[in-house]
């Protein structure tokens, strides 16, 4: 990677703006890297499959059945993905509401990740809609189904994307050298922050609430009446686990963009986040124990589903919980990183179980995704990574803001 590439700003005189845009569209790094060579064909194939899907219907590329109407695009990209985007609201809460300035260096990375995650997950959602053009019915109110949890999720989703855009917009203004716009956008951040956190918490809960209606279909080990609350707690430590992994990667890959204070700030920040993860995972685990005893779920322990449940809970919740705790106590970054990866696996397992694997286990035909569905799922995430990289290479996400913007926050 060409590490000397200077980062440009628009010159703000107006006459060169077009040139600036054209210039910014060009790749800033070497084109033929291993990552590009592997991922580009997958993305192109994925896009081709998406076109085919819109021409010939869902059945042409997916294995959806009448008993399993939601496949991996919803289960993996949306239901799992939303938990991974939770880091944005948690960090915004920590830095903006609680004024813990220590975490400022990673705030923009977390918000950018949340914003892109939400945009791409709604994209995956549209792929799975049978009649995607009619999605506007929800917005224009061709009859509002206000008692529907999905309706609430949809509106909180849309408004939260707007809040995330506002929260990230000062960085775009810095990139474009739009000083007056920057002042305005930085001024309304608090409004976006307060409503953003509210919208985010509620729709994280709503994703869990979706499956409350599927009583009798989701296996009792995964179904309970506290699903909305459990999904919110998951989004705290799941989101932070992704932020920990993301910061670790970004601080390596884009090290040349960081200034000295930011570089040094990383380890204390990760240790702090590990503490939050350990505590929230403890409350999550403890709630699982209470529900387990309360619902007398030990009757399932002899079955395969019982073992599957224990596999989810012990190595991927209890073990990383203690690893976070010791990582926090001993300030061991390596331990924290491993714990973050295990936690993410746990979140994926739990949400895939709820929405797919332990869903409708009596169905005559089990749903197994086609290779095409898996390629599209991966493509959506890869495109997100490409866009993330494009933005990080251009806007002040990891590096500090230009001098004129300092002190405005």
């Amino acid at each position: 990677m060409n590490q000397t590439t200077a980062i440009q700003y628009a010159d703000n005189k107006g006459n060169n703006t077009w040139k600036f845009f054209i210039n910014e569209l060009k790749p800033k790094t070497k084109i033929f890297t291993a990552f590009n060579i592997i991922t580009l064909p997958i993305i192109l194939l994925g896009l081709g499959i998406i076109v085919y899907r819109f021409m010939y219907g869902l059945g042409s590329v997916t294995n959806l059945t009448q008993e399993m109407p939601w496949g991996i695009w919803k289960a993996f990209n949306v239901v799992v993905g939303v938990a991974m985007a939770g880091g944005a609201y948690v960090l915004v809460f920590i830095t903006h509401v609680l004024h813990l300035k220590k975490y400022n260096p990673i705030l923009k990375v977390a918000v950018l990740n949340g914003l892109l995650a939400y945009i791409f997950y709604s994209f995956a959602l549209i792929l799975e809609l049978g009649r995607p053009l009619d999605i506007f019915n929800v917005i224009i109110g061709n009859d509002y189904g206000v008692s529907s949890i999905l309706f609430l999720v949809a509106w909180h989703f849309m408004l939260y994307i707007l809040c995330l855009m506002l929260e990230f917009s000062p960085s775009v203004a810095e990139w474009l050298n739009a000083r007056k716009t920057y002042k305005f956008l930085a001024g309304i951040t608090l409004v976006a922050v307060v409503f953003g956190i509210t919208l985010s918490v509620l729709h994280q809960a709503g994703i869990g609430g979706l499956f409350m209606l599927a009583k009798g279909k989701v296996h009792p080990l995964w179904y309970n009446q506290y699903m909305p609350l459990m999904f919110v707690i998951q989004s705290v430590f799941g989101g932070l686990a992704l932020v920990i992994a993301l910061v670790t990667l970004c601080w390596k890959i884009f090290a040349y963009q960081l200034d000295e204070t930011y570089r040094k700030a990383k380890d204390p920040i990760l240790v702090g986040l590990a503490g939050i993860c350990a505590l929230s995972m403890f409350s999550y685990f403890f709630m699982h124990v209470i529900i387990f005893a309360h619902e007398k779920n030990w009757v399932y322990m002899g079955t395969g589903w019982g073992w599957w449940y224990l596999l989810e809970m012990i190595p991927f919740v209890v073990v990383p919980m203690f690893m976070f705790l010791y990582g926090f106590k001993l300030k061991n970054i390596r331990l924290i990183n491993i714990a973050a990866v295990l936690t993410l696996v746990g979140i994926i397992l739990n949400r895939m179980n709820t929405s797919l694997i332990a869903y409708n286990i009596d169905a005559p035909i089990r749903y197994v995704p086609t290779i095409w569905e898996i390629i599209v799922s991966i493509s959506v995430i890869l495109i997100q990574i490409w866009v993330f990289r494009w933005i990080v290479l251009r806007m002040p996400v990891l590096r500090k803001s230009p001098d004129w913007a300092k002190g405005a926050h």
């Binding site: 009448q66 049978g130 529907s148 949890i149 279909k217």
Partner: protein, 289 residues
């Protein structure tokens, strides 16, 4: 639904009955504006599995006639080409049992609560219908339905949700559901839900040996418009008997009603935290200075 002479009379007939027998009607399920819920009683002891209802249904909805037939070996299920199916079952006593499956038209349908555009719509007369111009194809109705009735056309790029609509499109012409009309053995009966429950109890009272004493749909999922009586427990002829008796919307009622208060109160709480911690930080900064 346009108001013609027949529906006009039907409405006033029902209203007149309501006035005359006001007390007995109080407990009868009715929608908010006093129109009584209509339904169908299916008597499995009279059914012979002849498939006439399937053909009548396909004809009524301009769909292709079913090509397969029921047998005790194969259990046919509803799919986008079939709004109703008949199946044969081997009973424990060695005889054969029959069952007809279609949408149960719940009094408080899970699909209606789940649908975010009200594409799946509970009409005031009882039938739950699908409205094409509103549906965005999210298939949350399929996730939520405890009877697993709505089916999606996956091989269509603008798929429809297919399910029984109790021939609601023909009600304006005072036509009964096609399957009820054509059933040669009188296994299906159309009427108000109250009449049907009375009729079901009457049949059970008069022929206690013929029927298993359970009206499927009286309480299941909070009550359904489609009622089933049978000589054997209904799970033996393929009905899901593990359905909760409370209506499904009650599962999410608490959560849905908590959303608006949280939307209003959480921002205030956050602003309070913001102010409280701001003061503290300033103080510590001053102390440090």
């Amino acid at each position: 639904m346009s108001l013609n002479r027949r529906t006009f009379f039907k409405f006033w007939g029902v209203a007149g009955a309501a006035l005359a027998f006001g007390k007995s009607l109080e407990a009868a399920p009715a929608s908010d504006d006093g129109v009584e819920l209509m339904g169908v009683l299916y008597d499995a002891s009279r059914c012979v599995g002849c498939q006439t209802c399937e053909f009548a249904c396909a004809d009524s909805h301009n769909m292709e006639f079913p090509e397969d037939g029921p047998s005790t070996d194969i259990k046919r299920s509803l799919d986008p080409t079939k709004r109703t199916v008949v199946n044969w079952y081997n009973l424990p006593d060695g005889s054969e049992g029959y069952s007809k499956k279609q949408c149960m038209h719940c009094n408080e349908p899970a699909c209606f609560t789940a649908c975010l555009t009200q594409a799946l719509y509970k009409t005031k007369e009882g039938p739950v219908v699908w409205r094409e111009d509103k549906c965005m194809g999210c298939r949350f109705c399929m996730i939520s339905c405890p009877f697993e009735i709505p089916k999606a056309e996956y091989d269509n790029n603008n798929p429809r949700i297919v399910k029984c609509n109790m021939c609601y499109h023909k009600w304006a012409d005072s036509e009964r559901p096609a399957c009820v009309n054509d059933c040669p053995y009188d296994a299906l009966m159309f009427g108000t839900r109250r009449e049907l429950l009375d009729e079901a109890r009457k049949r059970m009272l008069e022929n206690p040996d013929t029927y298993h004493p359970h009206i499927y749909g009286e309480k299941e999922a909070g009550g359904t418009s489609w009622l089933v009586i049978s000589p054997v427990p209904v799970e033996q002829i393929g009905f899901n008997n593990k359905i909760q008796l409370k209506s499904y919307p009650t599962l999410t009622k608490g959560f849905v009603s908590s959303i608006a208060p949280v939307d209003l109160l959480l921002p205030a709480f956050l602003l309070g935290l913001y102010e409280a911690t701001k003061v503290r930080t300033q103080n510590t900064e001053e102390e440090e200075l």
